[in-house]
Amino acid sequence: MTAQTSTHPWRKLKLNLSHRLADFNPVQWLTSLLLPVTGIVVFLMLWHVGAGQINTSLGTFPGPVDVVEQSQSLWQGHVAEREKETAFYQRQEERNAARMADDPSYSPTIHSYPGKATFIDQIFTSLVTVLAGFLVSSVIAIPCGIIIGLSRSTYQAVNPIIQIFKPVSPLAWLPLVTMVVSAVYVSDDPMFDKSFITSLFTVTLCSLWPTLINTAVGVANIDRDLLNVSKVLRLPTFTHIRKIVIPSAIPMMFTGLRVSLGIAWMVLIAAEMLAQNPGLGKFVWDEFQNGSSDSLGRIMVAVLAIGLIGYALDRIMLMLQQAVSWDKTSEQR
């Protein structure tokens, strides 16, 4: 197996890089950089001018400058909160150590820090929630999609149900999910907050469909020749699914997963607002209720953060798709 060395991933990467370096064209590179930068600069100017024209009861609409200021203040708030937190724990430890020295039988208790979640904490909460919801939806949608795609009759039976539930807004699901979670998820020492569970399942319910449909379509449209190969080899059902069906459907599956993750992230913000899950949605809602002169600027920071994170999630999915899929020509929009 001498040919194995040339397909080694590390060598491939090196080869790829050297090819790219050889193709490096400064003029092309500059224009490819220049155009997006121009776009952004023009947008910032228009935004700056436009924002100044809009007056609200909380002052003018936030422009780029406000956003920069507010993001700095949010970051400083985060840093300050962290310092307070470490100081809080340090004080406790000192106090406990002192009491232990006085009275060796004393068993110290550590109180957790009661301070409020910062913007950064809220971003983190949102990410955890969306990924958990997306994971649950994928775990349900992929196997179901495969089962539906394998049989025409199942597909026809299930299709109307999918089509009806697919366009339902998260806001419609939320009250139902909230009530069900309150009724079902009862525990004295809950591992997760109810608001987290509610947001998670709302995300799941809304992001299930694209993966489900795409997986089913991908499975249903496997090349007939490949199915014939499987028949000639008399592959057992399970091997057939593992060796032929799943690899065939992977490009479609990932297209679905990318759409699902996009929807999950969009739905999450609405779900968090209503469920009061301490993430970005709650941040936006709290700032809106707060109504200080900084509020609109802070909301705008959240809007941009939501956009950037959504973009990053999509890129990560695309990278994952390219790593996993055999079909390297899959769309890259």
Partner: protein, 282 residues
Amino acid sequence: MTQTHLELSGVGIDFPTPKGPFTALSNVNLKVRDGEFVSLIGHSGCGKSTVLNIVAGLHQATRGGVLLNGKEVDEPGPERAVVFQNHSLLPWLTAWENVELAVKRVFGKTKSRAELKDWIAHNLELVHMGHAMHKRPGEISGGMKQRVGIARALAMQPSVLLLDEPFGALDALTRAHLQDSLMDIQSQLGTTVIMITHDVDEAVLLSDRIVMMTNGPSATVGQILEVDLERPRNRLALADDVHYNHLRSAVLTFLYEKQRKIEPISSRATATTPAKKKTEVA
């Protein structure tokens, strides 16, 4: 004459259509000896592929049946390996892995790991793919893909090898190359082969017998031509051979005089594009 290896008796098939059943084949009779190379030739749409699919077990005959070594064929199986026109390799697996899938399925329980490995390598070498064993189908040429397809089929050690226009989608030079390879391999292994083709030269060069099919509907065997050219055959030497040319013109006469197919220009244009000829009589 050795014993009959494969026998089609009174095979007919109807396909359901909205206007009632369409009889694609009727009363197809054929006996194939062990180690024989038989070609099926006929105009497109005559049901050549359907015959092959029935032998493969991918279609069920409505009437009659197929016997292989005295056993009736009723489902697909590796003892009747098929090489499809469009290679049908799994694109996410390398050449090696494609052959491995078949080998493990057929010999996974009877051969040791080392034996399996040797067997895969042996079959890839046989089709001269030793140098590109670990490439994926997307990285190799059409001819190479078809070689791997043949290796995969041969690796199952089939009782009969079914080739469905195996070289139809290839350019003339590659095709000639692969025909020579196939001739070589068949004489080495003595495999029984049924090949569908629409190339007269290919049929005469490779076959022991050429089965010429009439036009559908209700297509059947029109005439069988015995190709008694000595083996090994050399395409260059045969080009000037009187007997070869005589056989060739016999096939041509059948196709273009006795079974002349008159089609409107538009459908003819699609019929002569081999790559598109997939649907057959569906």
